[in-house]
């Protein structure tokens, strides 16, 4: 493909191989009756408004979903083999194995017996799907990693998004405390051939890193967050986002990540809804909808279990719910400062040169001394070992 560069006149590339593989295997499981319900029979519509939030009426999902089995105030918790994890799923739920080798070559293997030697990553179905093609990417499944991002696994997720080559196949990640339900490292993905509201939000550039990654902030959107784009390579983009995620994890700040546009745009959203819930600060009206704002909800895709909520769904309601999820402006700026400092450290380690900040003065990273002070009060990073952890400030 593309051997002769400009001279090869080919029409739009056909559906990419990975795309076909996911769709084909998923449809196969549909026909084998492995899903708890037919998600394509769930009514769904775009709510009229500026952003076009997407509402789905899905009464079956919450009834049959696996309950959350761990405490929600700690972003880092050790893996517990006794709780549900992905080594316990049926073989038929696994669609294929997926690996990226060191030179960036991606390989797929059908769901034959899992190749134990090479610590494979797998893609499995989500038996309670929220849209067609809802799958789980489980990096190095047999290593039983807890739900926390590291550079390798994030890169794998980005590879998947890029390989699928479909801007409507997005990946998402929920940290513990941001409505992940299983403490076993996994990303989610599904198809929705519509823009997500978050993708439509305007952005304002904050900085360009030494490795060419452009970081912007979301404007005019109920949840405050950052957008990462560009990078001299996919790896550079991946590492920058990973470093930001790791920083949040180590500071016990729950967050969600949306990988969109074939891996070319990545949204990072710190949140505090679970904490507010625990402190009783969320209105009962919002609680009654039982919408837990994880990455898809924050992106603008709301799955509702009550007909009443579906019929009354409005942009205003959606906005109001998501605004509860967002960090306050003040806290958001503090968190950004932590993130930029972590990224700059990562950049320096790679020999990059951080560029000057463009934009508002308060977007500048704080001095080293203040950052250290914040770190000392936060959760210790390591998972293995002591579970002691202070509650979020």
């Amino acid at each position: 493909m593309g051997v002769h560069g400009h001279e090869v006149r080919e029409p739009e590339p056909p559906v990419a191989f990975l795309d076909s593989l996911v769709l084909g295997e998923w449809e196969d499981r549909v026909q084998r009756g492995l899903f708890r319900y037919d998600v394509t029979a769930c009514e769904t519509r775009v709510i009229p408004g500026q952003y076009g939030f997407i509402a789905q009426l899905n009464e079956g999902r919450h009834l049959k979903k696996r309950p959350t089995e761990f405490r929600v105030d700690k972003v880092l918790q050790p893996f517990d083999g006794n709780k549900f994890n992905f080594t316990k799923v049926g073989q038929e739920e696994v669609l294929f194995q997926f690996e990226a080798s060191e030179d960036g070559e991606v390989q797929f293997h059908p769901s034959a017996p899992i190749d134990v030697e090479n610590s494979p990553s797998v893609v499995a179905i989500n038996v309670s799907p929220i849209e067609y093609g809802h799958v789980l990417l489980i990096p190095r499944v047999l290593e039983c990693l807890p739900q926390r991002i590291d550079r390798d696994s994030f890169l794998l997720a980005l590879y998947m998004a890029a390989e699928a080559g479909n801007p409507y196949f997005r990946l998402g990640y929920n940290s513990l405390g941001a409505f992940a339900t299983i403490n076993h490292l996994h990303f989610q993905a599904y198809y929705m051939a519509l823009p997500f509201p978050i993708e439509k939000a305007p952005t304002k550039k904050i900085i360009s890193t030494g490795s060419g990654v452009k970081i912007s902030e979301l404007l005019n959107y109920p949840v405050r967050g950052l957008v990462f784009e560009g990078g001299n390579s996919l790896e550079d983009l991946s590492n920058t986002v990973s470093d930001a995620c790791i920083c949040l994890q180590e500071n016990n700040i729950p967050y969600n990540v949306l990988i969109a546009d074939c891996g070319k745009r990545i949204f990072l959203l710190p949140q505090c809804y679970a904490e507010k819930q625990a402190l009783g600060e969320v209105s009962s009206e919002l609680l009654d909808t039982q919408v837990n704002p994880a990455v898809w909800e924050i992106s603008g895709h709301m799955v509702l279990k009550r007909k009443k909520d579906y019929e009354e769904a409005s942009e205003e309601n959606a906005w109001r719910l998501l605004a509860e999820v967002s960090l306050s402006e003040e806290r958001y700026q503090e968190v950004n400062a932590l993130i930029f400092e972590a990224i700059a450290r990562g950049d320096d380690a790679n020999g990059g040169v951080a560029e000057s900040v463009i934009g508002e003065a308060d977007a500048k990273p704080k001095s080293g001394g203040e950052v250290d002070a914040i770190n000392k009060n936060s959760c210790p990073a390591m998972v293995s070992g002591t579970p002691e952890c202070l509650v979020l400030q």
Binding site: H6, R9, P11, E12, V15, E43, P167, Y168, Y191, I358
Partner: protein, 394 residues
């Protein structure tokens, strides 16, 4: 690829008399015309002005998709906006960074409008006008100016936007590409964003009007009129251009059947289906699939298919089918109900595979997997595209 070129020629020949090419060539503006009903949504016409501006030859452009002019600095959100305008069949005007053949990035005002069939209300073509954005304030490069008179130095054709005070210097990679054009330039910078002036917007609007005038005029002579706005509501069995574009990406042989219309006609047939059976599109769309059956087709299998449709189940059968030239082939046929966003069945999709043909494609996907992936892709397209508040979709 020959058939694709054939389709591209037909794209115009169906609607307009042959003189339309010359008339369009007389317009000085830079513009492209695309056809959403052809797989890949390719460019079917590129004006002389466009070729001059972009540096490509006609042969390098016709048949390709507009994304070929995008590059690393092209704003992703803007691309999404354009993609959504296409999907929702509405006009759009944005500032966009594109790349010429030699790799130079440049800013332009991108204005896209639609052409509709007057009688059936369907979007037949998209027209895109490109007006380069010229900076008046910060021309950093002496001797470089955009001249309306045209001709002469290649440098004059190169336009850089530097509209704002704040600039962000590129990585060395981009600078190298840009600097290659003129070694005297130092500090050449490409903006992160750019605004077109009122003059440029007027230019774009005038260009669109001129193009539409030409197209309207030349469609009158064939009797298959077009207009710039949708004049009639699309009828039953209407497949929106965005569904066409999505379905066009699926390489398998398949058809969509509308069970709500009398005699359950085919409302869409893929290129691969036409190739497999030897028919032309206009011979099959609107017909019931029974024309594929013949003397030796097993009637119990036909009954099985009917039952599956009636009970809204998927099924796979092996059936003897006939091509246009009367030759027969064994068809591994897979049929599945396809629901739209309301949750109800909108179509049945029938995917065909000729028995005995290559069992695996080069990536190793089995025949069965390929069939199922086609079904999956159809399900996603039909469901997603009916969620919105766009033009009505069945």
């Amino acid at each position: 690829m020959d058939s694709q070129l054939g389709l591209i020629e037909q794209s115009f020949n169906n609607r307009y008399t042959l003189w339309v090419h010359e008339a369009l060539d007389e317009l000085p503006d830079s513009f492209t015309i695309t056809d959403p009903s052809i797989s890949g949504h390719p460019i079917v016409f590129a004006s002389r002005g466009f070729l001059k501006m972009s540096g490509f030859s006609r042969a390098e452009i016709i048949g390709r998709n507009g994304r070929m002019f995008q590059g690393p600095r092209t704003n992703r959100r803007t691309i999404m906006e354009i993609r959504e305008a296409i999907r929702e069949e509405r006009p759009i005007e944005v500032n966009l960074l594109n790349y010429k053949k030699d790799g130079t990035p440049f800013w332009m005002l991108f204005k896209m409008s639609l052409v509709f069939g007057k009688e059936d209300g369907r979007a037949t073509h998209f027209v895109a006008v490109q007006v380069p954005i010229v900076s008046r304030k910060h021309m950093r490069n002496s001797g470089m100016s955009y001249s309306e008179d045209g001709g002469g130095s290649r440098l004059r054709e190169i336009v850089f936007g530097s509209c704002r005070r704040e600039v962000c210097s590129d990585s060395l990679l981009d600078l190298d590409r840009v600097l290659a054009l003129d070694s005297d330039d130092t500090g050449l910078e490409i903006e992160d964003s750019c605004e077109a002036s009122d003059l440029e917007k007027r230019k774009a609007a005038t260009a669109i009007d001129n193009i539409l005038s030409v197209l309207t005029h030349y469609s009158q002579l064939t009797g298959r009129l077009v207009c710039g706005k949708r004049c009639s509501l699309p009828g039953m069995g209407f497949i929106s251009s965005s569904l066409y574009i999505s379905l066009g990406r699926i390489k398998q042989s398949f058809v969509l059947i509308d069970p709500h219309l009398p005699d359950m006609p085919m409302v869409y047939a893929s290129d691969a289906f036409l190739k497999l059976t030897g028919y032309d599109r206009n011979e099959v769309v609107g017909q019931n699939c029974r024309f594929l059956n013949g003397v030796d087709t097993d009637t119990t299998v036909l009954y099985q298919i009917k039952e599956s449709i009636r009970t809204e189940q998927a099924c796979t059968v092996r059936i003897l089918n006939y091509r246009k030239d009367k030759s027969s082939f064994w068809n591994l046929l897979h049929i599945s109900p396809i629901r739209n966003a309301s949750g109800k069945i909108a179509y049945f999709a029938a995917v065909h595979t000729e028995e005995g043909c290559r069992n695996q494609d080069r990536h190793g996907l089995s025949l069965e997997m390929r069939q199922l992936s086609a079904i999956g892709a159809i399900k996603v397209a039909v469901r997603s595209l009916s969620m919105g508040a766009g033009p009505s979709k069945s």
